[in-house]
């Protein structure tokens, strides 16, 4: 194989595998995996909210009436619940975002990721406990 020189490998021509099938049981990941699942779901949720939110804000440019009409619908109780969910999602996403950033940039992060996940949940619960009563008050006042 004299022609094969150091470090330069021929492009592996991997045979095309037969269709693979690997459903089966759900992978039983732990904190790391489930936090990522939640992060992803909340990220997508916030993204779609943001799209809508930009569009409704654009109505500001159309006319106060149009804007207020839309904003008024946000004041429905059902929307209040949605709003609570949104805040919950953002809070989780943000807190877990900090956790991810610590894992990435702080040397001790990877070792403590599991602890940090539980911390995220604790802080999230505390923040939600601060926010929800008010929000519930707001929702109820609509009835």
């Amino acid at each position: 194989m004299a022609e094969q020189t150091t470090g330069v490998l021929p492009a592996p021509n991997v045979p095309r595998p037969r269709p693979s099938r690997f459903q089966g049981t759900l992978y039983r990941g732990r904190e790391g995996m489930w936090s990522w699942v939640l992060h992803r779901i909340t990220g997508v949720a916030i993204y779609f909210f943001l799209l809508v939110h930009i569009l409704d804000s654009a109505l500001l440019r159309v006319s106060p009436r149009a804007y207020n009409a839309v904003i008024d619908t946000y004041k429905q109780p059902i929307m209040g619940i949605g709003e609570a969910a949104l805040v919950a999602a953002i809070m989780f996403h943000a807190l877990n975002g900090i956790r991810i950033i610590l894992i990435d940039f702080w040397g001790g992060g990877p070792k403590r990721q599991r602890l940090m996940f539980w911390l995220v949940l604790v802080v999230w619960v505390i923040l939600m406990a601060g926010f929800l009563p008010r929000q519930i008050g707001v929702i109820l006042s609509e009835f």
């Binding site: 194989m1 094969q4 150091t6 470090g7 021929p10 592996p12």
Partner: protein, 604 residues
């Protein structure tokens, strides 16, 4: 499924479903010896490495303790002392010219591995660190010396990975999960020569014929003839068995090493490095019994001696546990930091498999079948011999499957990783030199016929015997009757068992009838090799009426240099399938090469 597919792993032709390949050098086995040979051969000749396992699954990766070389990095040492220790450790059955080469080339072998990237443990000055190991001494037996170069207790793992990494670097062609089942021999000018090998591709069930000018066997050991063994399930001695079936001789098969410290009941090895780092063997009374048997080097006596002492302790009622049938390896006096730094894996084994915490508890151990000193006879150029001194040009063997013989009747710890590197390299070098001038030996038209027949016969077998039952009976009988201590009586017993099993083997059944990944079929074929080899081991052991190294005959407890300072050579003759081993095995002897060291009594 080839590893680095390029034009050269594509068959040159396919006839009747059999794929043909052509390479200058064909290496069978991708363990330490095979890959070391490939690294030498690859740059100079078209090379194919055929392995029944992915290279990194080879059992070299299980080796723990170290690789000997008189680097003198931490203590005064030289290769001459190493040679002496090797010869004495092998109870003077070692070919001393080969031992000299082994010890001398050890130094470059280690440095080459370091240069290839092997992450050895380091001394405070940044040099390769060394530790003590059984039987390695300074000044011809005065006191233990630090000679084993190591990487924690993962030396073999690092060697295997480093060699594989360098094969990747060189772009070596691997054929992984290809089982070689036959060697094709041809004749040139009336002289036997290898023409190639036939392999069974596990993934597809198809056959491949590899034509090669030179063929190197590096298929490792055959510890699976025993039940309790440190060896992998895949170490079934296929390579040695193929050579045997070709009518080529096997050397010193009666010498099988029992490693003193296998996890009791399981056989998983706890490296001698533990004792090198200070671990102590104790009996049920907590006594350090090795002090009685080997006052100078105590627990670091060679393995054959320690294993026998352990069996003696148990026989005399000083075994531990409810059935008084195991002993203790005690490292509780070492600090957890030292243990973690130097013996992390083996302590983990004790925790995982026995639930014992080695920091605070002694670990139950028992001797476990470990290493085949015997195998395919070669000269110091790694060329395979067809009788006492005629080589088969172009056919090489290296590693545990070969018998050079640098280990004589008992291998010293750390000398095997050395052996695979020194003689693996020599096999590669000599094969490349050989293929420069040699031609391909023409393949017969029916090159794959024998294997086709074998596979057909086994896969259509619809008998009544289960492979696993036969294998278990063989292994159990070997464990009880061909152990550390043996007598004519026990050996005769196992001879009978083997004869019976060979008969029953003709009536096996294989359940898996598919073509893909048919491991059921392969286990049946592997059992065939195990039966053949066990028969040779026992037949040779019966004939050697003396005690030497790993072979201890209670009915002949003395070493007998007058009569038995010779290697045993076993040949297959006559009807291979006859029930009586005597009908088809012929034994002869081969002189031992003695240069500097005259046999002396072996005391430690």
């Amino acid at each position: 499924m080839s590893d680095i597919p390029d034009s050269s792993t594509v068959p040159t032709k396919t006839v009747d479903g059999v794929h043909y390949h052509q390479h200058d050098v064909v290496i069978v086995g991708a363990g330490g010896a095979g890959m070391r040979a490939a690294i030498q051969a690859g740059p100079g000749a078209s090379t194919a490495v055929i392995s029944k396992l992915y290279p990194t699954r080879s059992h070299t990766g299980a080796a723990q303790g170290g690789m000997a070389a008189a680097l003198a990095n931490v203590e005064e040492d030289n290769w001459e002392w190493h040679t002496f220790d090797t010869v004495k450790g092998g109870d003077y059955l070692v070919d001393q010219d080969a031992a000299e080469i082994l010890a001398k080339e050890a130094i470059t072998a280690v440095l080459e591995l370091e240069n290839m990237g092997l992450p050895f443990n380091r001394t405070p000055e940044g040099k390769i660190d060394q530790r003590r190991f059984g039987g390695h001494t300074a000044e011809h037996g005065k006191n233990p010396v630090r000679r084993a170069c190591y990487a924690a207790d993962r030396t073999g793992h690092m060697i295997l990975q480093t060699l594989y990494q360098n094969c990747v670097k060189l772009g070596i062609n691997f054929f992984n999960e290809f089982y070689v089942l036959d060697l094709i021999m041809g004749e040139v000018d009336g002289q036997k020569r290898p023409a190639g090998v036939v392999a069974y591709e596990l993934a597809t069930g198809e056959l491949h014929v590899f034509q090669g000018k030179a063929v190197i066997f590096a298929t490792g050991g055959f510890g699976k003839i025993y039940k309790t063994t440190s060896n992998a399930h895949t170490l079934t001695g296929d390579g040695v068995g193929i050579i045997w079936r070709k009518g080529l001789p096997l050397e010193d098969m009666e010498f099988f090493q029992f490693h003193p410290t296998g996890l009791a009941g399981l056989g998983i090895l706890l490296s001698e490095a533990a004792r090198g780092e200070g671990a102590i063997l104790r009996n049920s009374e907590g006594e350090r019994f090795m002090e009685r048997y080997a006052p100078t080097i105590k627990d670091l006596a060679p393995r054959d001696i320690v294993a026998r002492c352990m069996r003696t302790e148990i026989r005399e009622g000083r075994g531990a546990g409810p059935n008084k049938d195991y002993l203790y390896l005690d490292i509780t006096h070492l600090s957890p930091e030292v243990i973690d730094a130097k013996l992390p894996d083996i302590t983990e084994f004790a925790r995982t498999y026995l639930g014992v915490e080695p920091y605070t508890e002694p670990v139950p151990v028992l001797p476990t079948a470990h290493y085949a000193m015997g195998g395919i006879p070669t000269n110091v150029k790694a060329e395979v011999l067809q009788d006492n001194d005629t080589v088969v040009p172009g056919l090489y063997a290296a590693g545990e499957c070969a018998c050079v013989s640098v280990h004589g009747s008992n291998r010293l710890g750390t000398n095997s990783l050395l052996d695979i590197n020194v003689f693996g390299k020599r096999a590669g070098d000599n094969a490349v030199a050989y293929v420069q001038t040699a031609d391909f030996v023409p393949l017969p038209d029916d090159a794959a016929e024998f294997v086709q027949g074998l596979i057909h016969q086994v896969s259509t077998a619809t008998g009544t015997e289960r492979i696993s039952t036969l294998r278990r009976e063989l292994q159990e009988s070997m464990d009880t009757n061909a152990q550390v201590f043996r007598t004519a009586e026990t050996l005769n017993q196992v001879t009978e068992v083997i004869g019976d099993l060979r008969e029953r083997y003709k009536n096996i059944s294989v359940q898996d009838k598919g073509k893909r990944f048919n491991t059921d079929l392969l286990e049946a074929i592997e059992l065939g090799f195990l039966l053949d080899l066990a028969e040779v081991v026992i037949y040779s052991a019966l004939s050697r009426e003396e005690s030497r190294g790993g072979h201890f005959r209670e009915d002949f407890p003395k070493r007998d240099d007058e009569k038995w300072l010779v290697h045993t050579m076993a040949y297959l003759t006559g009807d291979a399938h006859s029930a009586d081993a005597g009908d088809h095995i012929k034994l002869s002897t081969k002189p031992v090469v003695i240069t500097n060291y005259q046999p002396m009594e072996r005391k430690y």
